[in-house]
Each structure stands twice: as C-alpha cells, then as structure tokens.
C-alpha cells in the first residue's frame, strides 16, 4: 500500500514538474535584480531599496523581505525626478541638476557632488565615465525662463567634480537609455533618436525615428522596449542601420 502511494506521489511529482516547465508561471529567477527605465523612482543596490519622491531619497533595508526597514531619509533638493544606479553610486535627476550620492558600507547614501543647471525636467543615465542628461523645457512646469531642450554630456571620471563637456539642442527630450556605444533618446511626440558614442563627448546621431511617440526606453542587448503614451513597442536594434519593429501592444480599451 505504502509503495503504491509512493509511486503515485512520484508520478504526481513528475507530472507537476512537466506542467511547470512548459508554463510561464515560474519565470522569475530567485536571484538578481531587474532593470527599470530612466524615469524610475525605485532602484535596488545590494540589500537596499532606494526610492525618491519630490524632495527625499529614502533608504530601506530589504535584506529580510519579511521585515523591510527604512534606515535613512535624506532631503536632496526640490523636484527630485529619477534615480539611476551606477555601481556603488546613485545618480539623481532633479530639476536643478544631477546629484550624485555614494552608497556607504552601511547602505546609507552620502552626498558626493552635483552638476547644477537651469531648472528644467531631466532624467539621467550613465556609464563609468560619462553621464547623459536630458533637459526638457517643453511641457515642464518648473522650467525657468531661458531653459532649453538639450542633451548634456557630463564627464564623471572624477565623480567628485562632474564637468559639462558638451550640450546638444533637442526638441522635447524625455527618458533615455544606454547600451555600450549606443544611446537612445526619447523625444516624446518628436520621435526617438539613436546616437553612436564612439566619441563619447561628441555623440553622432545615426538614426532618427520620427514617427514613434517615445517617453522612455529600456535597451536589452538588441531589443529596445519603448514606452509611449499610446503603446508599448519593441524594436530590434541588433543592426543599427536597420532597426525593425518586433511587436507592439496598443493601449486603451
């Protein structure tokens, strides 16, 4: 009898295993963190979740998901918009500029430096050497008189002293995404621009997709997730000379 039950249980186990492997239910790996867009306001580094709201950077210890513990709250400036993780640094896009914090060994961020600019709306992405910041005056309530629409390139090789090295006129830049030598910049209703960063301080525009309404992007090694107000689009950019639409999900009932 026991043996029969055992065999039945093993049989069930095999069946369940098969069902699971062909199903998408357990796609989420138990390790690693995901990737947000450049407009994200949450990010995870190690055992800590960092969130920004209008003025604050909040640190939450998530080493035990059963009992997350807020451990720090830092007032950054007025108009904090985005947070971008770069190794052990946090780059905050704010309406006054780029604010850089270093995560200390206890997880709490300490202010390092800032690159301040005329008040406008601005997300940021970066690699170890350069931060790419878009400044948008168009449709930005807080934009000061004289604010422009630009893509600013900030040298952060010396992270304690970020230096503006170049600035390009844009139309209405929103989110942006970086994949190695390629930079994607969303221009809202004015399309999506693709830059080659072989000369990191002088990006060359290699593609302009004017008919895409793009607000933010996530580059995934050849596939670009594009968020627009009206659709979620995926582009294949493995060949930058021939960017093709893989799929789109339209929005609205």
């Amino acid at each position: 009898m026991m043996k029969k039950i055992l065999i039945a249980l093993i049989g069930l186990g095999i069946l369940a295993g098969c069902a699971e492997s062909s199903d998408s239910a357990s796609l989420v790996a138990p390790s690693g963190t995901g990737i947000g867009g450049s407009l994200a306001r949450f990010t995870i580094l190690g055992d800590f979740l960092y969130t920004v709201d209008n003025t604050r950077l909040v640190t939450i210890d998530i080493s035990e998901p059963e009992a997350p513990e807020p451990v720090d709250e830092t007032v950054v400036t007025q108009g904090v918009e985005t947070i971008f993780p770069l190794k052990d640094h946090l780059l905050l896009g704010t309406q006054r500029g780029l604010f850089i914090y270093r995560v200390q060994s206890n997880g709490v961020p300490a202010y390092v430096s800032s690159y301040e600019h005329i008040v406008s709306c601005d997300p940021v992405v970066a690699n170890e050497n350069y931060a790419y910041v878009t400044l948008r005056a168009a449709g930005c309530r807080e934009a000061a008189a004289g604010a422009a629409n630009t893509l600013d390139i900030v040298n952060i090789q010396n992270i304690e002293d970020p230096q503006l090295v170049n600035s390009f006129a844009m139309e209405s830049p929103y989110g942006l995404g970086l994949d190695g030598q390629t930079l994607f910049v969303c221009e809202g209703i004015n399309g999506l621009r693709v830059f080659d960063l072989s000369s990191p301080e002088a990006p060359q525009e290699i593609k302009y997709l004017s008919d895409i309404n793009a607000v933010d992007v996530i580059p995934l090694q050849g596939t670009l997730l594009v968020v627009g107000p009206d659709r979620l689009l995926q582009l294949d950019y493995t060949d930058l000379d021939n960017i093709t639409v893989l799929s789109e999900i339209t929005i609205g009932a």
């Binding site: 998408s24 947000g36 867009g37 949450f42 997350p68």
Partner: protein, 175 residues
C-alpha cells in the same frame, strides 16, 4: 471646487514670494492624483490579464515585462518571444506608481505603504510584508508640504483614499 482651489492658489501666492504665479498649464507633467476607493485598498492579488488603459513605467526581469497601470497595479507580460509578447496576469495594487524587483520579491508602493510581494508565480502573488507610511501620500488631504500640480478631485468618482504620483495631462489644479 476649482474656484476654491483658485482662490487658495491666489492666497498662497500672496503669502509666499517663493511661489511664482501660474502662467501656463503644462501639456504633461508629473504630479499627484487622487486614488478613489475601489474596495479595500490594501487588497493585493493576481488576476487574469487586462488591457492597458493608462501606461505608467516599465520594469524588466527574466523575460517578463512589468507594465505599470497608473495607480491601479501591474500588467505582467511574458516576453520570452519579443515578437509575440503575451500578457499573462494583472497584479492589482491600489495607488501604485513604482516597483523594483530583487530575486522573486517585488517591492511596490501601495499608497503610503511599502509592500513586498512573492512573485515566484506571477499568477498567484502573495504579500510577504507591509511597511506602513514609507511614502507620505495617503489620506484625504493632499500630503503636507506638497507643492505642484495635481489632478482635480472628481466628486462623482467616490471617496478618495489617498494620492499617488501620476503623469498628468493638462492638470488644472495646483498649489
């Protein structure tokens, strides 16, 4: 209602020189919007996939795209084949604006609370923990100290349980 806010704005402007008078309404900006009661706001659960109505932000992990539905929750899309993305679930989280995922734990704001969800099965998520009051945007009143645009409350929508961040199109209320 609107007039009351207008008078309030005038009052605020007259009080504080830091406030610049409102000269133009932006086409689009980030601000707060009221979250209306739809059952218990603490209830978080997976359901069948739904159409996207108001796209917020996206987050990617392990071939899954997590698509924010402004203030209501997260669509989960199986993207193992980017040419044929397949919506597989909707996780309802009232007042949600942002998420981040570590391992198979998803952290999200549920109005003012931080919630940690076990998403090892996205079709059947469970709440691991709830940390109240991490985000100061709950309650009927606009959060204290908030200045900026917000979506004008609509009395026909029922009672307000809190406020959350949202992309606003031509918002007409501000303080």
């Amino acid at each position: 209602m609107r007039r009351a806010y207008f008078i309030f704005v005038l009052f605020a402007v007259s009080l504080s020189a830091c406030y610049e008078p409102l000269t133009e309404i932006p086409e689009e900006t980030v601000g707060l919007a009221p979250v209306y009661a739809e059952g218990e706001w603490q209830t978080i659960e997976s359901g069948p996939p739904q159409g996207i109505v108001e796209l917020n932000k996206i987050y990617y992990k392990d071939s899954l795209i997590f698509v924010g539905e402004a203030q209501r929750g997260i669509h989960v899309i199986d993207n193992r084949d980017p040419a044929q993305p397949e919506p597989i679930a909707f996780i309802s989280i009232t007042g949600n604006s942002d998420i981040a995922i570590k391992g198979n734990v998803l952290f999200a704001n549920n109005l003012s609370d931080l919630v940690a969800l076990d998403i090892s099965d996205v079709r059947n998520v469970s709440v691991i923990s709830r940390t109240p009051g991490v985000f100061p945007a709950s309650g009927l009143e606009l959060p204290a100290g908030y200045t900026g645009f917000f979506e004008c409350p609509d009395p026909n929508m029922g009672s307000i349980v809190g406020w959350s961040e949202k992309n606003l199109i031509r918002p007409e209320c501000w303080r």
